[in-house]
Amino acid sequence: MTKALVVVTAGLSRPSSTRLLADRLAAATRQHAGELTTDVRVIELRELANEIAQNMVTGFPGPRLREAVDAVTAADGLIAVTPVFTGSYSGLFKSFFDVIDKDALAGTPVLVAATGGTARHSLVLEHAMRPLFAYLRTVVVPTAVYAASEDWGAGGDEALAGRIDRAARELAALVEARPGHSAAEETVVPFEQQLAALAAAKE
């Protein structure tokens, strides 16, 4: 069965190193999970910036944002990559996850990654990204990937490639092991049960 791997990237420049890292993570994961059985969909938050801000104000997503949110919540695996802004994930990145229902990602395997100008911000992954996805009750893979500017130059590449490969393997294993799922259906508690629950609580 084909697995849906969704990549969310919050890089702002074009091309962005965040997107670059996202693509390498996606390619590596696909390699480990099976090229033929893994569909990759990349969501550039930059293109949804307006609709994300509007959702904050109106309470509902515009058509393109809704389509993106549906893809993320139906994903078998998620790769989430943000640039480091002011010591944390970017506001756009956080806002995207803010407009998603807090229960919609429960159980989803997630690989977290970030980019920054220097390696000094790398603990953003452990101090900001991991708690965010823990709150959403996702399953975050042990290896988080940080790429600083120097990683794209001489000497850095090998270490980065190693981390990408390890993280991708971890994500692929979780995606493969996860049974197929569909987005949660709206279920209604029959009214008698709602009344009975109240009566029981009263006792």
Binding site: Q54, V57, T58, F60, G62, V188, V189, P190, L198
Partner: protein
Amino acid sequence: MQFGIFTVGDVTTDPTTGRTPSEHERIKAMVTIAQKAEEVGLDVFATGEHHNPPFVPSSPTTMLGYVAARTDRLILSTSTTLITTNDPVKIAEDFAMLQHLADGRVDLMMGRGNTGPVYPWFGKDVRQGIELAVENYALLHKLWREDVVDWAGRFRTPLQSFTATPRPLDGVPPFVWHGSIRSPEIAEQAAYYGDGFFANNIFWPKDHFKRLISLYRDRYAHYGHGTPEQAYVGLGGQVFMRKNSQDAVREFRPYFDNAPVYGHGPSLEDFTEQTPLTVGSPQEVIEKTLAFREHFGDYQRQLFLMDHAGLPQKTVLEQLDILGEEVVPVLREEFAKGRPAQVPDGPTHTALVARRDAELQEVQA
């Protein structure tokens, strides 16, 4: 099918003049607007209930009692009455009194309220919103149907040998709608009691409400109140009209852009495309409103939001003229076409009394 208006009762600065009406002006304007609704041939006026500025209508039955005395045909309703933070005993008493004074021209819409601090202000816990709505309404329903009530629950002091007075007019309680924006539990509650379900769909896209309304219709049938098509559905709407579409857009845009709820967000064009808001000619309003039936089925009540976001009273009254003269007569005619005979009309006291009498006769026979 019934047509009317619902008001939030916001005191908002007119963005084109910078003028803010006083609370007194706004309250009097709401009453004038209600009377105008009857004058232009609408069926329903509904007021919100709020307990925080910039809103004025904290005491709906006081306002509706005044409107009742100054109108003859208009049905007086709410949008919504807070079933979570009001004492259900007081709701039973207030609305039964209003029902007598208005000779039956009263119904009401239950809502949970969406302002967090209102709960603690009234000694309640916002996290128990659904439970409060369930228990309080169960008590209200009983108080209107049983002359002597013994009752104990989680949220209110128990009642022994209590009789809510006055008893409902002709022994038939006011019709109840349950309003909800997102909770399937409330659609389920409306279906369980055979009450109406009002989807205030004005801020959100239709797909979301299609799910809620079809759930309500299915469950209405499940509980044996009739077929899904016989369930009572009400819908919100929001319009601004001028003879020429471009004039309507130009005049309404500053109000839209600065509106308390959705202002400073999406463009007027996006919002019009995604929600029921129509800004344009009366013909455009007619077309968009008629399309509601295609999405939600034949329904019983259509309420429009007309007097918000700082629109001056004069403009609102002009809007009501257009609504009453050019839009609603066409909607009545068009909605009547192809409407199956078994689909009920909008609920009235007379119809409810007749239904009760028919049911009694059936039991006796």
